[in-house]
């Protein structure tokens, strides 16, 4: 949870994404407690309501779950869920801008495929 916030997206979305990235990287483990909204608020100097909204997104998706009176925990299977979600969004989030740029530079489909093949060797 130590990435920096940027002005590119709503803060609560970034908080959610950072937690997901930490789960993917094994910084936060399944069945482990995650930082509280107050801790997040202090770390990032953001309003606790904003932090809570970010955490809430992940609860809605079943990535985190609440243990009454204790706090939020990473759900079993959270890692798989995040992977599936990010893979599903990959084309939209990463390919679409890449193709738009390729188009405006006049890079053909074949050239692009060649480039990718070269990079992925």
């Amino acid at each position: 949870m130590n990435e920096q916030l940027t002005g590119q997206k709503s803060i609560y979305i970034q908080i959610g994404e950072m937690m997901e990235t930490d789960i993917l990287r094994g910084i936060l483990l399944e069945e482990e407690q995650v930082p509280s909204t107050n801790e997040l608020a202090r770390l990032y100097t953001i309003n606790p309501a904003t932090a809570a909204k970010g955490v809430g997104l992940l609860v809605d998706e079943g990535i985190l779950y609440k243990r009454r009176g204790i706090g939020m925990f990473v759900s079993p299977g959270a890692r798989e869920k995040i992977l599936a979600k990010r893979r599903a969004a990959f084309a939209e989030n990463h390919l679409a801008p890449l193709l738009a740029e390729a188009r405006s530079l006049g890079i053909s489909k074949e050239e692009l495929i060649d480039m990718i093949g070269e990079r992925m060797k």
Binding site: L5, G7, Q8, K9, S10, I11, Y12, N38, A41, R42, Y44, T45, I46, N47, P48, A49, T50, K53
Partner: protein, 291 residues
């Protein structure tokens, strides 16, 4: 229950500096009060805390008028921006003395916190306030606000003159106090960008009127910056509320405020970017000159 002001009007020598201001401040939130110089921020804060009578209108805390009401006043702290000039009578007073007087106003004054903050800010409280820099005076107002423990605390330009490290310290302290106590804070500031993420709600005061009062996030989300070739931009934002138009040659950039349900026509060849609270504020309040 909350602090409510209704239809506040304030006139100074025939000029209305506040016009029909109505607000509800709910407990347990951090509000930002933003507005240009002369918008009426300090006047509003002093009326909300019964330090200044309104010409018309009412201010009530949990249903009871605050004016000359001791029980309400104990719950309100307005830590004014200090001006230690000859007229204010503060110049000869030591900061220590000022803090001691302030502490007698508030039952819940936190002496331990006062000591901690004096140390953190490395503030020499034996110094006369007339000899203090703007930043040091701001530290004194911050200490008063945080240590008062008042359920409704108003800070007027608390970071004016503070260096960047002290400002960061203040934001952290405010959050720490807020998360521990759940007090309500109303902070007026010109350094909007730094405070934006702290503010759950934002109140924009412009020429004595409330231009906007609501969740900071929804206000920021309602605005975006659209740029590209002028014709494409015009087509993409047709029928929308457009502010802050800038052009350079064939290129054009505008800030758009979207009503719920409205959308930018993204089939056009334009860039759509989010804007910060500061940019949105400037787009909303900085226009007159160009018109």
């Amino acid at each position: 229950m909350s602090l409510i002001c209704e239809n506040i009007v304030k006139t100074y020598s025939g000029k209305e500096v506040l016009q029909d201001v109505s607000l509800e401040l709910q407990p347990g939130k951090i509000y930002g009060l933003i507005g240009r110089n002369g918008a009426g921020k300090t006047t509003l804060l002093s009326i909300l805390t019964a330090q200044n009578p309104a010409t018309r209108g009412s201010v009530t805390l949990d249903g009871a008028p605050v004016w000359e009401n001791r029980r309400s006043l104990e719950k309100l702290c307005f830590s004014r921006e200090l001006n230690a000039n000859a007229e204010s009578g503060l110049a000869a007073m030591k900061a220590k003395e000022y803090l001691r007087i302030a502490s007698t106003y508030y039952e819940g004054w936190d002496k331990a916190l006062e000591e901690r903050l004096v140390q953190l800010f490395e503030l020499n409280t034996k110094k006369k306030m007339g000899k203090m820099s703007k930043g040091m005076l701001s530290m004194v107002t911050i200490i008063v606000a945080l240590c008062s423990k008042a359920p409704y605390t108003f800070l007027d330009e608390p970071v004016a003159g503070l260096d960047v490290v002290a400002r960061e310290q203040f934001y952290k302290l405010l959050l720490e106090e807020y998360t521990e106590s759940g007090r309500t804070f109303v902070v007026s500031t010109h350094i909007i960008e730094e405070a934006a993420d702290l503010l759950e709600e934002v109140i924009i005061l412009h020429q004595g009127k409330v231009l906007l009062s609501g969740e900071t996030q929804s206000f920021v989300d309602s605005a975006c910056h659209v740029s590209g070739k002028a014709e494409e931009v015009d087509a993409a934002v047709a029928g929308l509320e457009v502010r802050h138009v800038e052009t350079m040659g064939r290129s054009k950039g505008v800030t758009v405020f979207l009503e719920p349900g409205q959308k930018i026509d993204e089939s056009r060849d334009v860039s759509v970017q989010p804007v910060s609270l500061q940019r949105a504020f400037v787009a909303l309040c900085g226009e007159e000159e160009h018109k």
